[in-house]
Amino acid sequence: MTLTTAIQRLHPDPASQSAVLEVQGLSVDFSIRNGMFRAVDDVSFVLERGKTLCLVGESGSGKSVTARAILRIAAPGRITAGRILLHQAGSQGGQAIDIASLSPDSPVIRGIRGRAISMIFQEPLSSLSPLHRIGWQIGEVLAIHSKLGREERRQRVIELLTQVEIPRPEQTIDRYPFELSGGMRQRVMIAMALACNPEILIADEPTTALDVTTQAEILDLIRGLQRRYGMAVLFITHDMGVVAEIADEVAIMRRGKLVESGPVRQIFSRPREPYSQALIGSVLRLQKPREVDAGSGSTPAAAPILTVRALGKRFEPRRSLFGKAPDPINALVDVDLELHEAECLGIVGESGSGKTTLGRCIMRLMQPSSGKVVYRRRDGTETDLADLDTPALRRVYREIRMIFQDPFGSLNPRLTVRQAIAEPLLINRTIPREKIPGRVADLMETVGLDPGAMERYPHAFSGGQRQRICIARALALDPRIIIADEATSALDVTIRLQILDLLLSLRERMKLSFIFISHDMSVIRYFCDRVGVMYKGRLVEIGTSEQICTRPSHAYTRALLSAVPVPDPARRSIASRHRYVEALAPASNAPPAVSATFPSGVQKR
């Protein structure tokens, strides 16, 4: 394609005066094993100057591919139809560039990338080069698109770092990405995207990998910068709370097609299409505590089924060859909690708060350093799981089961569904061998799967279906307690609600107790009777869901709740959030937030 065909004259009609990007009938195809797969199908939308358009959809809806097509980085996908018109402010006379007609590595598109349109990605760690200093990486954009000298570039980078509110920019400029926390890295990414004052910022799930409090800060930052520079923002997300918080316009995508688009308030209050209604409906239902099912509440009279007393876990880092051993990490400090029969106990916390360690220490997947985990058997006898030998522990594993976060990793891809569900039955021999197929079929029906799909392999199932398989597996041995570690976090919101409802109905039917570990406040509120809030390895507060969500007593809980985006465009609240600062924390101005990962020397068991 030549430049002359790419630059087209448009009739300057009043509607497109403020439009900076127009996508018209865009289709993107990928070639797959047998034929073509249309990831984006006839999508059209208009992005206006100074406005935020949220592209919403569940996984696989084609929203990321659409965004990438705008920058022509959707390879191996090919644009097969449509136009992407960029109206640059500088070019007078209504000249627009049709990005769709450019070659993906032409000088024109390279001039657009990073300059007119820039992009930030979901994973700030992998989007930054680990080998280069922050300043060098941001400066590179300037080196490509401007004629600034070395010193001027450095000045500009410091200015940018100041704009994205990075503390002590003069020092941070010479740091490496691994020295910064996730939120700081995302700020660096934003600084890089802003380097050339782009007219359009494409943000592809920029806060999905971050904790809620950090997410709130980043959203606030993006919005502030947008106001200041009048950028148009194309914001891609699956989180309706985030949408309500920042969007002016919303476009909902599903299976490559644009379902509905419109102003944010209209979409939230009067969605027209059934899919939008279902999506918004699921989100709103998750906002409220579930309709209380009478009688299922805990019976405090009975002794708790599981009692955790002063549970602690220290990770002792390996002593290095030189120098003294680094300080041990206290992943759990004196955790006390009780789980009653048929109760759902939620554990909420941000990454690194020790909630996963708690679950694993209860299950003895990790050996706790101190404390007790007392389990009361069906016959009333009590055992301390913390010092049980392996054969005895295997017997307890029949009654306490676990569901993992990643439905793709927790099923062996080489076993069929029947084999996977039968595995615990085969190992524990709780029922005769010939009854196993019937039991597997029953279990599949229980979790809402078609038993006819028994001989299929996990790759034939979607994430939600796989999680159902995992649940069937967990139920196979008639357990009493299920520990669910972020069991719904990897799922789309409509599926998430289905899985939660399934678990609730199972609890009802089988008198199950749950320990439900999650970072998502709305899921916890929907699902749990009581909630424990964890912060830096400590259980800072525990109480009923209602009490924690409406009248939190601990300052950290209040900070956490204030950062959760509410899916109601009329109640934008993130700006009024507050960050919890520990009174004891030294007032150093080093980059905040210890990241969740353990130091490399620590061995995970």
Binding site: F30, R33, A39, G57, E58, S59, G60, S61, G62, K63, S64, V65, G77, A278, S282, M363, L365, R394, R395, Y397, R398, R401, M402, F404, D406, F408, G409, S410, L411, N412, P413, R414, T416, E423, P424, I427, N428, G448, L449, D450, A453, E455, R456, Y457, H459, A460, F461, S462, G464, Q465, R468, C470, R473, T494, I495, L497, Q498, D501, L502, K604
Partner: protein, 383 residues
Amino acid sequence: MSASVDVTGVSGASIGIEQAGQWQLIWWRFVRHRIAVAGGVIILLFYIIALLADFISPALPEKVSTRHTFAPPQGLHLFYRNPDGSLGFGLHVYDYKVTIDRVAVRRIFVVDETKRIDAGLFVRSEPYLLLGLIPMEHRLIGPLDRTKPFYLLGADRLGRDVLSRILHGARVSLSIGLVGVLMSLTLGVLLGGISGYYGGAVDDLIQRLVELIRSIPSIPLWMGLAAAVPQDWSPLAVYFIITLIVSLVGWTDLARQVRGLVMSIKGEDFVLAARLDGATGGRIILRHMIPSFTSHIIATTTLAIPTMILVETALSFLGIGLRPPIISWGTLLQEAQNVRTVAMAPWLLWPAGAVVLTVLAFNFFGDGLRDAADPYAHTEKGG
């Protein structure tokens, strides 16, 4: 939304991708890799040829003919002109006209188009045992008159047929790869598996051993070991010892890869889930871990075979591997060791061609296999 909505996605009835097991998926991915499939076909062909070398080769590899030392290749023709001018049809080659250059003391061969030697398929030959079992008296191709010269790829310094020798050499060269790899596979999987699963001190010990072995310069090591083989051993014993030597070094690479695979799978959620099902260590290894990396092992092994072939060739070429009564591609190349011979009879380098073709075929095949080996590798999702 009701729970049943979720199920509709898998309502397809026929045996398709959802019921395909791991091997089916690997096969689907493998056949998309055209060069790899071609490599696989070539390898299969070579092994068939090696098995049936007695039948396919036109002559006995040991048959000496002093009249035809360094005879050049003859072209195989189909059409000829009869003396009366009419066109004849039939497989044939042309005889040589030999003059002796008394100054250079060598024979000069000129193809003599007037003397036709008729050839044919399934010609009678001296009796032999195919695969050492089936008595046969025919060969795939050869001259109708057994006393006439028939050198499609030329002759060596004793007038032996190079083609027949290459075909017979394939047996040793292709099998030494298999035997060697099989031995290093056993060692590698065993030691690498132990190293990866148990970790700690055992892991340290095995890994340091691997590093030690890899730090020894390989050619001097082989030379030293080969020199230690007593001269009076039978060629077969030497052959066996050579494979042992080669695999002694080859296992280290495999052990490292197996260790890495075991360690990565050990951290998978499904292994953890199996532990929570109450599975014992043995069951976890046998049912969950080993099936996860057999395909990788097969691919790695395939990639290790050409190395073995090259090592054998190199050792034999240097004269420290197999020794001449045994025919292998390496011993054949020994014939082409000096420049004068190569200048005079370049066709003695044909065995090198066979080595190159085999090694390339194995590498392409192995690459394709490796790419296809993990059908569950995470593919990036659009979204």
